[in-house]
Each structure stands twice: as structure tokens, then as C-alpha cells.
Subunit: 255 residues, 2 copies
Amino acid sequence: MCELLGMSANVPTDICFSFTGLVQRGGRTGPHKDGWGITFYEGKGCRTFKDPQPSIHSPIARLVQEYPIKSCSVIAHIRQANRGRVALENTHPFTRELWGRNWTYAHNGQLKGYRRLNSGSFRPIGETDSEQAFCWLLHKLAERYPRTPGNMEAVFRYIAELATELREKGVFNMLLSDGRYVMAFCSTNLFWITRRSPFGTAKLIDQDVEINFQEETTPDDVVTVIATQPLTGNETWQRIEPGHSVLFCLGERIV
Amino acid sequence: MCELLGMSANVPTDICFSFTGLVQRGGRTGPHKDGWGITFYEGKGCRTFKDPQPSIHSPIARLVQEYPIKSCSVIAHIRQANRGRVALENTHPFTRELWGRNWTYAHNGQLKGYRRLNSGSFRPIGETDSEQAFCWLLHKLAERYPRTPGNMEAVFRYIAELATELREKGVFNMLLSDGRYVMAFCSTNLFWITRRSPFGTAKLIDQDVEINFQEETTPDDVVTVIATQPLTGNETWQRIEPGHSVLFCLGERIV
């Protein structure tokens, strides 16, 4: 199993605090030692930092913790390998282009019978069930919408249907973003929290770090964080019901 | 105009020395202040570090200079914007999947009439002539070889034909890699050097840095570096004739 972390915000926001909590689970408070990755969107562009090393020992993870890259949409993942050996090509998140946008995906869980998923012209590069499922998803989307779709909420409803099909093959917790929207599909465990004014203080569960968001934000900021398990102990996280998905845009839940 | 840097090696080798020279041109010894990027292959996987900030001021560039990521194939680029504003989605290198492999591309030059290049299902995300040309190239390759081709040298001969067509639209210096092969197509300026035993000492032109490769290598290492302009002053770099390409695999020139 792996751990997922996502963010959706209405102003470019750094994720250093939450990422610091996640990194502890990559070899210290958690067993997720088989690599990690994080994708930051800036407009239509995105950049990914990833490492097949445990996040707790990675100089690149240290950079990401210390250098506040500001983004409105973030997807991160730390890995405990099940299908596919420890290698860069098997390290999430995965990004592919569709309709002239970068789509970024990370998966927590394990699927059976995934080799039979037809992914058309989206061919997997690594050996994971996760990437095969992502390629299948993109192939189904490209088939249903050969041209850029106008109604993105309908697209995400279709993605939820496809995710439900994948869940029938095992465990399929997923984060997916095109840079504007961040979707969370829950198969077993996925929590979220929206922080807005008046901001308070939050305290990480995995490390003795506290943050006063009031000092870091303006009154109009809306920031949602999604994670496999709550990252803070003194706030109330919402659980996504297994089999359901939640869609965020600019920090706000829209579906 | 921009500067290109590539590497092909028979053992995983770091590019810290050459990258240090390139970074100086990103805002100090050169005017290429509109972002930079570098892609390292590790097996079939690859990771890209990029920043729309000048390389000389980028904490991420500092990490890449100091943290020796070892790779057999590397593509790097620093940008002086002409077509497309300064933004992450316009920052090279660009990577796309074809035939289940990551293809990475960087371009130096400027093209006219590039909007008429039909790129099929490979849609550009940013606004550069470079990415449009890359998408067109991939589309032509996918059309000619709907299945994974067996003879890669023939594929690169076809790519050289396509690059010649692009050169008719302006200036088209290009580096391209699928992780195994590194191809350099010269439109105006591109130089390369192969270092092998007995290794000597090299001295950067752009900064007062010297390296004794003998201390860093084993006698079997073969490492080729490709750059827009020679990076060292005390070695003999080969010029690629305008209109010609050179293909490397595991450090050796094969075509």
C-alpha cells in the first residue's frame, strides 16, 4: 500500500507543511520506503520531483520540504511496492497529455487482472498495475471524447464510473488532476479538509511540527488537502465514503 | 536562442561538471535567463528538473549541480524566450510517451509557419514552436510505425529526414532521446566530445572549475557530451555539420 497526498487551492500555495508529514511515512513512521513523487501545477505546466529512494533519505525530498513551490493543484505519492519493482519508471505520480493538458495521476491499492485492460495508444512505460489502469482510463476518455470536451463535470462523472470498474478489480484509491480540477476517488481510505478564514493552528501527527496558518495566508485563501490518513491531529478531516469520489476546483468542493 | 546540453554514456555518469558550465550561461555569462530544464534517464524511467527562473538563481539548479544523479542519457536546455512567454509549460525539455518509452526533446532555434504542422493526437500544451514541432515529429513517427519498430537506426534516419524538413522553416538544432539513444541534429551550432581512457583534466570556459576525469572514472567508461558551444577550453570538440545529425548509444557514436 501507498500513501496519497493532494491539494487544491484558490491561490498558489506551498505544500511544505503537509509534505513534511507525508515524508515521515516514507521510511520513518510508515513503511513506504520504495520511492516517492510530487507534481506541482503552475498554469498548464507542471513539474514532478521523484525519487526511487525512501523520502526520508532523499535530498530531493529535502529540497521540496524547504523550497516553497507555490501551486494551485498538487498530487503526491509515497510508495510501498507491490506490483512492479522499485524503479523510477514505476514511481508515481504519472503524467500524460490529453486534450492539450497535463493529466497527473497517483494510485494507492492493488488490482487483479489489470493486464487485460486495453490502453490503446497510451502504452505503459513501467510494470505497475497503477500505470496500466491510468493508460486504460485515458484511452477510454480519448475514445468517448475525441475532441476537447466542454463540460468537465460530465467528464469527471465518467471518470468516477471508470474508477468504480477498476475498484471491482481490487483496491483503487486515486488522485487525478488536469491542473484545474483535483479528483479524489476512495476505495478504502481517503480524507480531506478545507481550510479557510478564520485560520487556526495545525499540528502534524507524524512529526513535532506546528503551523499557524493565519501567519501564512490572506483572509480569502481557500486550501483543501486530501490524504490517505489525516495528517494533523487537532483538526476534523472528512472521510470520503468507499466507492465515492469528490471533485475540487480552486480549493472548493464542487461535486 | 537557447543552449542545449546532452550526454550519452556506457555507465551511469553524473553531469554535474558540464551542467555547472551551462548554468553560468543562464543569466551570467550568457543571456539565457528564461528558464532551464534537465532530464535524466534511469532505465526506462526519467525525471526532469525544470524552472522558469534563470538557472543562475534557481535553488533547483543548485541541487542538480550538487547532487550527482547518475544517468546514461541526459538532455538539458536553457532558454532565451522567443516564441511563447516565460512559463513552466514552455520550458524544455519536453517528454512524451511513444511505443511504451519516454521520448525527451529540446530545441534551439526558431521556426516560421509552425502552426501549420499537424500533430494529430499529440497536442501541444504550451505555445512554443518547439513543442509544436516535437508533437508533429511524434505524430509522423506514430503514423509511419503504428507498432513498436524493430530497427531503431532506420527510425532515427527517418527522424533526420523530418528534422531536415523542420530546418527549412528556420533554425532547428535538436537533441532527442528515448533513453537508449541520444540524437543530435545540427541546424547551425552543435558540438560533441567523447571522453575515454586515458582520461585527462578538463577546464570549464564559463567558470573557473577544473575536473580530473581520471579520478572520477574507470578505464572502461565512455562518455559523450553534446553542447551548443564547447564547454571546455582545453579539449577538442567535434563540430556537427549544419544539416547533419549524429546518433549516440551508450557513449559511442553509431551513425
